[in-house]
């Protein structure tokens, strides 16, 4: 009898070990992972249907303008964060009927749920595939942040020269959980965190907890901006335990604040300056980056330079500002 009880206790202990390990892992990690390529989570990040041109209910900046494009209409594409901008441009200067949205169905082959008809003048491929599309000639104007080294190399490999016209400004921001007591970091502290020199929040005035410096998909606009921000400092490989620590991430201000709007995270001040529209416009926020309208030098569509000039005009810049970004002129 004693032997049987001992055996049952051993079996129960073995089961409990696995349950405890997997349960802890679920609480610390798995339960927090929203797959970005699932329909529900992607729709939560950017619901393209909210920004469709020529739809009354769309959340787009609208102005009074006499400028209207006719003839060969340029195909516009861009990063997720800039959908409100280029959708507003289409809305204001393209004729009704130039965009055909067939409804986004998220799948393994259609990560972003974009489902514009092939002849639609607005497309949404996001940064990584958007750069490929502009180089391959599928898009006329791409709205994105600076390219990554790989994207520049891809254009060079294909013998394609691209023109980058800065059309607006945006802040590159760092964010943490809203409960994290740290509100401000210096740029040098952030480089030290991602470089692996500072590994605990205690060292920057926070709680005694490991820092989990989170990075993004290589080639994405925000990861390219981060690589540029780090300069010579290489992003260090983090320890396996860091994954359970207090995380810090990066993004662009309007994407976080205006599009995603998750109140369980907060943007950090950098060198004591909060990334508000005012602080970006007056240059006091330390990491302000331009975003570009990008086109091929050999694009002979006469509407491309016309549209770029309009975007840089007072009317175009008003669209940029009313879409939540900061004007460049």
């Amino acid at each position: 009898m004693k032997k049987t009880i001992r055996q049952l206790a051993i079996l129960a202990a073995a089961v409990l070990c696995f349950v405890a390990f997997n349960g802890s892992m679920y609480l610390l990690l798995t339960g927090r992972l929203s797959n970005n390529f699932s329909g529900t989570s992607q729709a939560g990040m950017l619901d393209v249907a909210k920004y469709l041109p020529h739809e009354e209910a769309s959340d787009l900046a609208r102005i009074e303008t006499d400028f209207t494009l006719t003839g060969e209409l340029p195909v516009l594409d861009g990063a997720a964060a800039l959908v409100p901008v280029y959708a507003a441009i289409v809305d204001n200067v393209y004729p009704v009927g130039s965009v055909t949205y067939e409804g986004g169905t998220f799948s393994d082959d259609n990560y972003y749920g974009e489902n514009f008809a092939p002849d639609s003048k607005m497309q949404y491929k996001n940064t990584v595939r958007g750069y490929k599309a502009i180089v391959d000639g599928e898009t006329d104007i791409l709205f994105c942040a600076s390219p990554s080294a790989e994207q520049t190399a891809y254009a060079a490999e294909k013998g394609v020269e691209l023109v980058y016209t800065p059309v607006g400004l945006e802040a590159f921001v760092f964010f943490v959980n809203a409960e994290n007591p740290v509100d401000n970091l210096t740029t040098e502290q952030i480089r030290a965190i991602y470089g692996g020199t500072i590994t605990n929040w205690r060292d920057v005035g926070g709680a005694d907890r490991i820092i989990n410096p989170v990075t993004r998909l290589a080639g994405s606009g925000s990861q390219s901006a981060m690589d540029a921000f780090m300069r010579e400092t290489k992003i260090a490989r983090k320890s396996l335990f860091a994954i359970t620590g207090g995380a810090i991430g990066f993004s662009f201000r309007y994407y976080m604040d205006g599009i995603v709007g998750n109140d369980r995270v907060k943007m950090l001040s950098l060198n004591g300056v909060y990334p508000s529209a005012e602080n970006i416009a007056d240059g006091s926020y330390p990491i302000t980056v331009p975003f570009f309208a990008i086109y091929r030098t050999d694009n002979d569509n006469p509407n491309v330079p016309l549209l770029i000039d309009w975007i840089l005009s007072e009317e175009g810049q008003t669209i940029i500002a009313e879409s939540g970004y900061v004007r460049i002129r």
């Binding site: 032997k3 049987t4 055996q7 049952l8 051993i10 079996l11 073995a14 089961v15 070990c17 696995f18 390990f21 997997n22 892992m25 679920y26 609480l27 610390l28 990690l29 798995t30 339960g31 927090r32 992972l33 929203s34 797959n35 970005n36 390529f37 989570s41 939560g44 990040m45 964010f175 943490v176 959980n177 809203a178 409960e179 994290n180 709680a207 989170v214 993004r216 994954i243 207090g246 995380a247 810090i248 991430g249 993004s251 976080m256 995603v260 998750n262 369980r264 995270v265």
Partner: protein, 46 residues
């Protein structure tokens, strides 16, 4: 319970537990690479 039967059951429990844990780890690695970092950080426990 006979020793032989006990060890067989124990082996089965360990194998099954390891299998489930490995699947869980594999899912974690995949999901961590593809997850929304804003939501990941927003759901952090403090």
């Amino acid at each position: 319970m006979q020793e032989k039967l006990f060890y067989r059951i124990l082996l089965a429990v360990v194998v099954l537990g390891l299998f489930v844990t490995l699947c869980h780890l594999a899912y974690c690695v995949y999901a961590y690479q593809h997850c929304s970092i804003i939501y990941f950080i927003g759901k952090e426990l403090w």
